[in-house]
């Protein structure tokens, strides 16, 4: 546990729930019985949401952000890619020292999970998860393989676009977020019922990572850039009042 910067203690910006997918989205069938029907109880953030867990760099293993090598030490099969970007808040500030975890299917579109019976084979050298802590300016990077698209039971012929799942912490528990990164140019994005739980096209575009040839390494790997934005925190001298005043 580490002590966070004092400027990271302000109340959280209110969440724009028209920007996020709503809970009840019939195109994605599983949401129909898992979506609360009652209105959420709205509240400004309290200390319970403005504080949150912190993680130390000593916890992170040297191969933790290298999904090509971190399962067996032998390279996984697939198209090698760097996934990189920054964790920012809505004020545009990099958020340092926060945990980013990812998980994904292998290059054939198969997950290492007992519930996944897709006919694409497991790769004996691909575990499918990685983690890292952001640097002083909020930067992170992973080396992985491009995940395959795969079919899933929803409508008869639904396929997930290539995607990487991302879990990210902020400095407050109320900033906790899970999302998915998609890849520029994938024609399955527009057809995906999970993508289309999001109502606004501009919000969908925020989940599509562009090919980044500046970060690609010649004769080694391609790169995709994906910035992650967390809820902002208010900063005002007027917040510095004593409790109860």
């Amino acid at each position: 546990m580490t002590l966070s910067n004092a400027i990271d203690r302000g109340p959280l910006f209110f969440r724009d729930r028209d920007w996020h997918p709503p809970a009840y989205t019939p195109g994605y069938k599983t949401s129909m019985t898992r979506a609360p029907h009652r209105a959420l109880v709205a509240l400004g953030s309290t200390l319970s949401e403005e504080t949150g867990p912190a993680f130390g760099h000593d916890m992170i293993g040297v191969l933790d952000n290298n999904l090509v090598m971190n399962f067996t030490g032998q390279p996984a099969i697939g198209e090698r890619i760097i996934m990189h970007g920054r964790v920012l808040d809505e004020n545009g500030r990099g958020v340092p020292n926060v945990l980013v975890e990812i998980w994904q299917a292998n290059a054939g579109g198969r997950y290492r999970h007992k519930k996944d019976g897709y006919l694409a084979p497991l790769d004996p050298n691909f575990g499918g998860c990685g983690r890292t802590l952001t640097g002083p300016d909020g930067r992170y990077e992973f080396l992985t393989v491009r995940p395959g698209a795969y079919p899933w039971p929803n409508h008869v012929n639904n396929w997930r676009p290539m995607h990487i799942h991302i879990s990210v912490f902020g400095t407050g528990f109320g900033q906790r977020l899970i999302t998915q990164m998609y890849f520029e140019g994938d024609p399955l994005i527009a057809k995906c019922p999970i993508v289309n739980t999001i109502g606004q096209d501009r919000a969908i575009q925020a989940l599509v990572a562009p090919l980044d040839m500046n970060r690609a390494i010649p004769m080694d790997c391609l790169a995709y850039k994906f910035d992650i934005v967390l809820r902002g925190r208010r900063q005002s001298f007027f917040e510095n009042r004593k409790e109860g005043m």
């Binding site: 920007w19 109880v41 990812i102 519930k115 799942h165 967390l230």
Partner: protein
């Protein structure tokens, strides 16, 4: 007029059915990547306060028990101080405050062993009743759900809690109360939808 140059929060997407691969690979049966899963316990040996065990289930609108639910908890120590970045000062060094809780893959029952948290002030200074914050994700949940575990045997504190006071339909308050089932033992079911639907917050 100048533009407001704030960024937009990254939109949420469901954690999906395979969230355990990323967040608790050892519990899933994928060892060898991390020495151990994160958030196994919110306390260490020597944590001050009353030891409690809370267990329960996450249930959907068709009364099915979710076996793929995963949630995280965040709580104060027994004195009501949060670990890490609480502006009021340092918490009990043996309380990390954070846990990752996965439902049992076969039964759907989850279990959390911790200490009962103390009271934490609301922004206006009034004390909130002891509570544990929950952030819940699963397949079919498009944006993590926020709720809180309160305790039925904290009647006086609950009656003064400014957060519980916000709940207009008083009959729904009981959905936030862990029921005492024995000494230091509580049960707490989370009902996602329908009759006795748990109160979820937008905070």
């Amino acid at each position: 007029m100048q533009g407001l140059d704030y960024l937009k929060e990254t939109p949420s997407q469901t954690a999906g059915p395979y969230v355990h691969i990323g967040l608790v690979p050892n519990a899933l049966g994928n060892p060898g990547i991390y020495p151990q899963d994160l958030g196994l316990s919110p306390i260490r040996e020597g944590a001050k306060g009353q030891r409690i065990t809370i267990s329960g289930r996450v249930i959907d609108g068709a009364d099915m028990i979710l076996r793929d639910a995963l949630f995280e908890t965040w709580q104060a120590d027994a004195e009501g101080l949060y670990p890490g970045n609480d502006p009021r000062g340092p918490a009990d060094p043996n309380v990390t405050g954070w846990a990752r809780v996965a439902a049992d893959f076969d039964t759907g029952i989850w279990r959390l062993e911790t200490v009962k948290p103390g009271r934490v002030p609301f922004p206006d200074g009034r004390p909130m009743a002891p509570h544990i914050s929950i952030w819940l994700v699963a397949r079919g949940i498009n944006l993590g759900l926020q709720t809180r575990i309160y305790f039925e045997d904290e009647e006086a504190a609950n009656a003064e809690c400014p957060v519980l006071a916000r709940i207009e339909h008083k009959a729904r308050l009981q959905t936030l109360l862990a029921k005492r089932t024995g000494p230091g033992a509580y049960s707490f079911d989370i009902k996602l939808q329908g009759e006795n639907e748990t109160v979820f917050f937008d905070i």
